[in-house]
């Protein structure tokens, strides 16, 4: 098991690579805000929770991670680099030219990308089908982790899939909500209220815990906690743009570009 310091260092390296990819994307920019908010979740998953072997990426016994809020692709690429799926060259060339690692990840299981993403609301259905398929095949140990955004939960399909996850008894599913409270046009509360977010999941039969999404120990405990008979939801309270002060809690940093100066500022913030 990794120490808190090791996980935090891992998260810091992921953030540095997110900033680098955003900067190198030039005028196009990247989804910096939601990538920074999901970073600690990915660091804990790849650092200390997921069962995987980047040397044997198609192992049927592997855990599957589905990044349904796929616009946080740069965070996924940075995490996959830490996990041994992507090289430093892959990171250095991402979001540029004909790199296969662009703004939304494209299905590439050899490189740890289970499914393509970009159209919101669809990841949990894929996770549900995968989880059901694994059970039908008698593979009971792999877990399916699906990361959704709180804004993404506006999509009706999330709830079609959520109901199916519990209906089919898919206790091999863990949903993580990156609850940064912001969506493209503003605060989640102002754009579309979701009522009692935890209650929605609970009422369908999920085991729900709410944690600080930037506290690696709290995340690890929640992710590792065994719940034998029910699928799990972890609502991770996060800050959009976390770690880069000028982007924190600012809707305009949903996507953004980093000038040379801002990039240097971001690096200083992350290293602080």
């Amino acid at each position: 098991m990794k120490s808190r310091e090791e996980l935090e260092a891992l998260a810091r390296r992921i953030r540095l690579n997110i900033a680098q990819m955003t900067w190198q994307s030039g005028l196009k920019g990247a989804h910096l805000g939601g990538s920074m908010s999901v970073t600690d979740i990915l660091a804990v998953l790849y650092g200390d929770v997921l069962k995987y072997d980047s040397k044997n990426p198609l192992d049927p016994e592997r855990d599957r991670l589905i990044l349904s809020k796929a616009h946080a692709a740069v965070a996924l690429y940075a995490a996959l680099h830490e996990a041994g799926y992507l090289t430093k060259d892959d990171i250095d060339s991402a979001l540029q030219g004909d790199s296969p690692f662009f703004e939304h990840p494209m299905m590439d299981p050899v490189h740890g990308i289970e499914f393509s993403g970009g159209s919101l609301g669809q990841g949990l259905s894929l996770g549900m089908g995968t989880a059901l398929g694994l059970k039908k095949k008698g593979l009971l140990s792999p877990r399916i982790y699906v990361i959704v955004g709180d804004g993404e939960c506006d999509e009706g399909q999330v709830w079609e899939a959520a109901a199916a996850v519990t209906h089919f008894g898919l206790n091999n599913v863990t949903v993580i909500v990156d609850d940064n409270g912001l969506q493209f046009d503003g605060r989640k509360e102002d754009i579309l209220k979701s009522g009692d977010a935890a209650g929605r999941w609970k009422s369908l039969g999920f085991d729900v815990v709410t944690v600080d999404g930037h506290d690696v120990e709290a995340l690890r405990n929640a992710l590792r906690r065994e719940v034998p008979n029910r699928p799990k939801v972890i609502i991770a309270k996060t800050v959009k743009g976390k770690g880069v002060h000028f982007a924190e809690n600012d809707v305009t940093w949903h996507t953004g570009r980093l000038t040379d100066e801002l990039y240097q500022e971001a690096i200083r913030d992350i290293n602080d």
């Binding site: 299905m107 996770g127 549900m128 089908g129 989880a131 039908k136 079609e160 209906h167």
Partner: protein
Amino acid sequence: MIEITKKNIRVWSMLGMRRILGPAMKDIIEQDRKVLFATADTGRYYAYDDLLRTYPENVVDVGIAEQNLIGASAGLQNEGFNVYAVTYATFLTSRALDQIRVNLGYMGLGVKLIGEAGGMCDGNFSATHMALEDISNTRNIPNMRVITPADGMELVKTLIALKDAAYPAYVRMTGRFPIPVIYREDYNFEIGKAVTLREGKDVAILSNGTLLGDVLKTAEMLAEKGVDCKVINLHTVKPLDEEALRAVAGCKLVVTAEEHLLYGGIGSAVAEFYAQEPIRPRMLMLSVGTQYPKAQEYDDLLKTCGLTAPQMAESILTAL
């Protein structure tokens, strides 16, 4: 059930496509347990009781949730299952079109979509239950094959032919019951290979689905008026059988007849092909038109849209 015998051909005609589906899928599953029958709360339409009783593990009903039907099917397909996802054609291909686009088109996962009530056969339920854009929607999706079987035997052959296919496909079921028998005996079915049902040299009529019953009658009526009509079953709309289309390009008139809105259906597909050919025939596109018809019984709807045999014969004579 899926044995091709004279008796089964008669039985299939009486049952109609939707009630063939459940028993046929049961036989397919009997031979390959990796096949799954996924539906969005329309299972009973397909006489699936026996399938459900015998192989409950092979039936996945996700409830009235077509978007999740596609995503869940894609997830299952990716884990090595062979999924046939079945529900009302319009809810499947219009409501869940983005899911089809991303999961089947973009990712290329080989889920087989089976749309029931393609065209207007459930038109008494109103335009909400007519599938009039399904061909247009699906044939534009990369990687997708699009097939409209003519009768019960061709539906069974299509389901079998698709079983081990790596690509996604859309199968459009049409007609109520009974449905016309287009093939009285076994024949060679190949995806992408059109079938000539009747020879003729003046006019070629391209159609598919149960409408072919009326199209064959149209050709008979025209023969009495001295017009020699070839009838082609264009069961595969994508990929088009280009060779078959080139072979009739010299006819005085190429007619397409379909239970679909004018834009985007087989008329469009055929016209798109000819537009880039050196020899281009004149075309007449018989279709539902450009508006949603008002709810009516199926036979009356065909009349409203000019798709009965005498009306189609009349339209062709006028065009000539």
